[in-house]
Symmetry: C2
Subunit: 148 residues, 2 copies
DNA sequence: CTTTGTGCAAATACTTTGCACGTAG
DNA sequence: CTACGTGCAAAGTATTTGCACAAAG
């Protein structure tokens, strides 16, 4: 896990201790494209590290969010979900099954930085989210409609 | 509450019954700029309608969100909060105290509709959110820093 | 060493559900 | 009248906390 070096640096800078658990959770998020919830992370990690506790997962996610190493997606009507990729990208939330998809919209960054200026507020982070049905749920909806 | 007519129509169209409670909750949200949580709505309404139940508030919010008459803001790390103003606008979330501020960014609408097209997905709704400190919390932070 | 983090269990907070009664259509 | 909504209490989930022990710096 050599690649974690820069993250470790950031943790230290922010005054937090670097623990095994924290690195494992961070590593998990950096490799997952599921935008998992705390419970999902816990369920997976427990298999490799049977003594890890759910409370630690929650605490760590809270801490990592504060430092900015992960992002709390705040999906409407859902439990909290997290993303370890903090570089510029948007999300598409399926309003049916709750799946979350990453979107790269090249134009967005430039546009948003202009909008940020308009706000005249100390913006530290922003997000663009889209909502609708994912392909699968759209398919199901069509089938359901035609069977009526 | 004559002004509720169009909303009542929409409820009927969607196949829902128009009850006193639903109208009261909708009216509350349409007049609040607090982006309240279910609990906040309940606490306030209970004073005027002592027999209303929290379950009804939750059920109604769920229903109104589905119909699109209110929006579930999905603030990260927070309980669910709702907005009765569904016309085009963005939000600024204070990462310290959780306050939510409305933002009107004239350029945003045009820009977003272009981005929506890029996604090639059936987008039914989107949002642009900003995060940072509200004026008050920013002030507090400055004072705290200077007292060290 | 000293401070912060962890694991566990227990507590709290948030949201949904089952059921008997009420009311809109 | 009939289906759907409401209120209440109870059950489920989700998340946080207190405390004794462990590990990081």
């Amino acid at each position: 896990m050599k690649y974690l070096e820069p993250y470790i640096e950031q943790l230290k800078q922010a005054g937090f201790k670097v623990t095994h658990q924290r690195l494992v959770i961070l590593d998990y998020l950096l490799h997952s494209r599921e935008h998992p919830s705390a419970e999902m992370i816990y369920a997976d990690l427990r298999q490799r590290y049977p003594t890890i506790s759910l409370a630690t997962v929650y605490n760590t996610l809270e801490m990592l969010s504060k430092v900015g190493l992960v992002v709390d997606l705040g999906a409407p009507g859902e439990r909290r979900r997290f993303d370890g990729i903090v570089s510029e990208h948007s999300h598409y939330f399926c309003t049916e099954c709750g799946k979350v998809k990453d979107l790269n919209l090249p134009g967005a960054e430039r546009v948003l930085s202009k909008l940020v200026q308009e706000t005249n507020l100390p913006v530290t982070r922003y997000r663009i989210d889209f909502f609708g049905l994912c392909e699968e749920c759209q398919q199901n909806a069509v089938e359901k409609a035609s069977s009526n």
